[in-house]
Amino acid sequence: MSFSIAVQTQDFDIGHEYAELVAGDTAVGAVVFFVGRVRDMNHARDVKSMSLEHYPGMTENILQNILDEAKARWELIAAHIVHRVGELQVGDQIVFVGVTSAHREHAFQAAEFLMDFLKTQAPFWKKELTTQGSVWVEENVKDVDASKRW
């Protein structure tokens, strides 16, 4: 796969993603993965489930831009981004970012960069169904700050 993105309603399998990411490449010394999941509590709201909307066409453009930027900044062998949309339950997987490199500092930094920019640039929106009704998730100032360090 080398460098690829996917926006999908289906779940993804971590063992499978890992196998695809390292397949046949003996130059890989370091693999870093990030998985984001729906947690049961967000800003003191008791979350039951969430609905994830995106902007088809733009989402893919932005994810590709972010991936290209990471490739330009670090020595990467492969990178893959998967983001789910639609209805998700507590404990469900939302996003996968996997990066491989010869060197661990490149893999770690690229994975953090991809997540920081995905969080602040990619057109996804979460609406949580909580015990107090449905709530659009607000922009997270920590995410905005995190994206400014790169």
Partner: protein, 82 residues
């Protein structure tokens, strides 16, 4: 025609998902906003939100970007994926 989209919370606030605007009516994002508010005065509070983001043809755009017929313009709140 220019295709105008409202996404996520903004769609619910405006009660509209999409509309078509004749290209001669607008020349930039800023004038498109004025045109929309002229037709729907109660949209002003939402469209004047400084946090609102705008994309033209699937890339982020500034208010002074020139628009032409066939363009797709989307207005949406700060993103919250990941």
């Amino acid at each position: 025609m220019i295709r105008v989209l409202f996404l996520a919370q903004l769609r619910e606030q405006l009660g509209a998902a999409e509309l078509q605007v004749v290209a001669e009516d607008v020349v930039s994002i800023a004038t498109l906003k004025q045109y929309l508010v002229a037709g729907h005065p109660h949209w002003e509070q939402f469209l004047s939100n400084s946090k609102l983001l705008v994309a033209v043809n699937h890339q982020y755009a500034k208010a002074d970007v020139a628009l032409k017929t066939g363009d797709e313009v989307a207005f949406f709140p700060p993103v919250t994926g990941g």
